[in-house]
């Protein structure tokens, strides 16, 4: 690690160009609604989309270049960039869909009790900035700041639907648990700083010694892990998830379940892989237990859920458990080989990112279907398995696409979810986590039960006699933007994985 002295030479503007562009977009979209009146306000989401597109292009331009900025504190290596692509695509399709559904100046004839704030767009862009910085950060303070940048707008977004009590409840619960998590994180960081005297991941890597027991450092690491655990909803820090995902507007739930989890895991992989990997012998047991607990509790709780959004929330917890396998693989691989700048990330990172990409599109697609099926968020929060009974007879397209996303989440072949699980478990097996893989496989079987329960209800049961909540799906054409993108991505990753794997194969540790 170079000296602590900051010098302006270390700023690489190309590396941080995506976040500069999006930040500028935040300011513009915040002020534009004052200038534009009435239907002219459509320009606001348009600006958001253009900004995301520009950020995508500027990220793509530095692919493979391994740029870093601020003395290595911010690294735009391929892992960051691949994660950024996921974040930007997710934000892009969510912005389109949200504009269509909620903005009064664009309202489709079916109408909607709307949360008509143009602030949605700057808030979502802020979340994307936070997510990108989280995946790029190699310094605990920057990670902390990025997590806050990501979280605070999300608290607001969760409560965006002011007419819904559940939405407000979700916002408050998310805020309180989030604040709690930030406390853990900040305290853990301060203990690590006390023990090591440095905050950069590489400095921590150099200072970590597996032989000399330093309990201040261990306590700090444990607290930071708890903070991360809250953010990506690992058991036992998962209790907020069902209420928050159920109460938030469905698209925001999808946004949280996909983007936030992906951002959290890239940050975790970086911290555990590049920061504290020498202590692998100490933390692997804890992570292995949490992984087993997370998948089991998530799946067991999902078994009996009747509300679809809660079921998806618990299933997203279970997926976090599978993803923890990647952390273990990376820890094992890198603690044996040692991390060197420029080294390929190896198949651990490859399968983690592949799994994330597959999971992200399946979960956001599922939430989008719920959103599509219900006239407003009030019904969306209460949509039950019984309500989708016989959906195939009424709305075959909805049923087919929902089934596809559920198959992907469950891990059935020809979907991204199958290959994601396959690569992840195979890699874990080859690294010797036999017991844990057996556990994960049993869990995957368990999860198939509740995913299939929905599919059985849609295809093999007759429609309920009582009025279903999803009699009249919104005819809004904009939803296609989300649903078809997710469908395409799920099938593409599932059928031609080589294209993405080839891309990921060139991902390497930033210099």
């Amino acid at each position: 690690m170079t000296s602590m002295e900051f010098s302006p030479q270390t700023i690489d503007f190309t590396a941080i160009m995506p976040i500069i562009i999006i930040s500028a977009g935040i300011l513009v979209t915040l002020l534009l609604p004052f200038a534009a009146k009435g239907r002219a306000k459509i320009i606001n989401p348009l600006v958001a989309l253009i900004v995301l597109l520009a950020a995508f292009i500027s990220s793509a331009r530095i692919w493979d270049l391994g740029r870093a900025s601020f003395d290595g504190m911010y690294t735009a290596d391929n892992a960051t960039l691949f994660a950024s692509f996921i974040f930007i695509i997710v934000a892009f399709i969510t912005v389109i869909a949200i504009t269509a559904r909620y903005c009064p100046f664009l309202r489709s004839p079916d109408g909607e009790g709307l949360f008509a704030s143009p602030e949605v767009f700057p808030l979502m862009l802020t979340v994307v900035v936070g997510a990108i910085v989280m995946s790029a950060s190699r310094n605990l303070i920057l990670t902390f700041l990025a997590i806050e940048t990501l979280s605070i707008p999300l608290y607001v977004l969760a409560g965006m639907n002011l007419s819904s009590e559940r939405s407000k409840e979700a916002s408050l619960k998310y805020f309180l648990t989030g604040a709690f998590a930030s406390g853990f994180l900040a305290y853990g960081i301060s203990l690590i700083y006390g023990a090591v005297g440095k905050l950069g991941y590489h400095a921590i890597l150099d200072a970590c010694s597996p032989t000399a027991a330093d309990y201040t450092l261990y306590a700090g690491l444990a607290l930071v892990a708890v903070g991360f655990g809250f953010k990506v909803a690992l058991v036992p820090f998962h209790a907020w998830v069902p209420d928050v995902y159920q109460g938030s507007p469905a698209l925001i739930s999808g946004f949280m379940a996909s983007l936030v989890k992906a951002a959290g895991f890239t940050a975790i992989l970086r911290f555990f892989g590049e920061g504290i990997v020498p202590l692998y012998g100490i933390w692997w047991v804890a992570i292995a237990i949490i992984a087993a607990l997370t998948m089991t509790v998530g799946n067991l709780m999902a078994l009996n859920q009747i509300v679809l959004k809660r079921l998806l929330a618990y299933s997203s917890i279970a997926h976090a458990g599978y993803l923890l396998l990647a952390v273990l693989i990376i820890g094992k691989e890198w603690s044996e080989k040692g991390v060197t700048a420029g080294a390929p990330l190896g198949d651990a990172m490859q399968c983690a990112f592949f799994y994330l990409a597959g999971y992200v599109f399946a979960i956001i697609g599922s939430f989008a279907i719920i959103w599509w099926l219900t006239p407003s968020d009030k019904e969306g929060a209460l949509l039950e398995i019984d309500d989708v009974r016989g959906l195939n007879d009424r709305h075959p397209l909805h049923a087919a696409l929902f089934a596809l996303f559920l198959f992907s989440l469950a891990g059935f072949p020809i979907t991204a979810g199958f290959l994601g699980k396959f690569f992840l478990f195979a890699s874990a097996l080859s690294h010797g986590f036999i017991l844990l893989v057996v556990f994960a496989l049993l869990n995957a079987v368990l999860s198939a039960y509740y995913y299939l329960k929905i599919i059985v209800a849609m295809y093999m049961k007759s429609a309920p006699e009582h009025a279903s909540l999803c009699e009249e799906p919104s005819p809004n054409p904009w939803i296609y933007a989300v649903v078809w993108t997710c469908t395409l991505a799920t099938l593409w990753l599932g059928i031609i994985p080589a294209s993405i794997l080839g891309l990921l194969g060139s991902v390497s540790v930033g210099g």
Binding site: S7, P8, S23, L27, L30, L31, F34
Partner: protein, 125 residues
């Protein structure tokens, strides 16, 4: 090295001891009068009978004052170290960079200010 923490240990011991002593003393010294059953359902307020739950109303503009305070206070907090660091930046030959950094920062805060004006945050009747 650990001897430096002895005062803290003593402090902890005092804290625990005093709280224990007070609890035990109050158990033996206090007269016991159980009031009616409803008393137990009220919020506990250090042994006094409560005045009931009074949410009260306060003008929402205080909330805006707090947000405004953040906007302007954060500005002041960062201006101070910025001003002090000028000399070292000039020695490195980065005066323009030093200046531009703060302009960007103030520009972002200015957007926040304009947003507040646009939202009629200053329109106090």
């Amino acid at each position: 090295m650990l001897t430096a923490y002895v005062p803290i240990l003593i402090l902890f011991a005092f804290m625990v001891a005093i709280s224990l002593i007070i609890i035990v003393l109050s158990h033996y010294l206090s007269s016991r009068k159980y009031s009616s059953r409803e008393r137990f359902e009220e919020p506990y307020e250090c042994g006094l009978s409560t005045g009931g739950i009074k949410p009260g109303r306060y003008p929402v503009k205080f909330y805006l004052v707090a947000i405004l305070f953040v906007v302007f206070d954060v500005e002041a907090v960062f201006l101070w170290p910025w001003a002090i660091s000028f000399q070292s930046f000039r020695e490195m030959g980065y005066s323009v960079f030093w200046y531009a950094e703060m302009i960007v920062f103030l520009g972002i805060l200015l957007v926040g200010y304009v947003y507040l004006v646009g939202k009629n945050a200053f329109d106090w009747k």
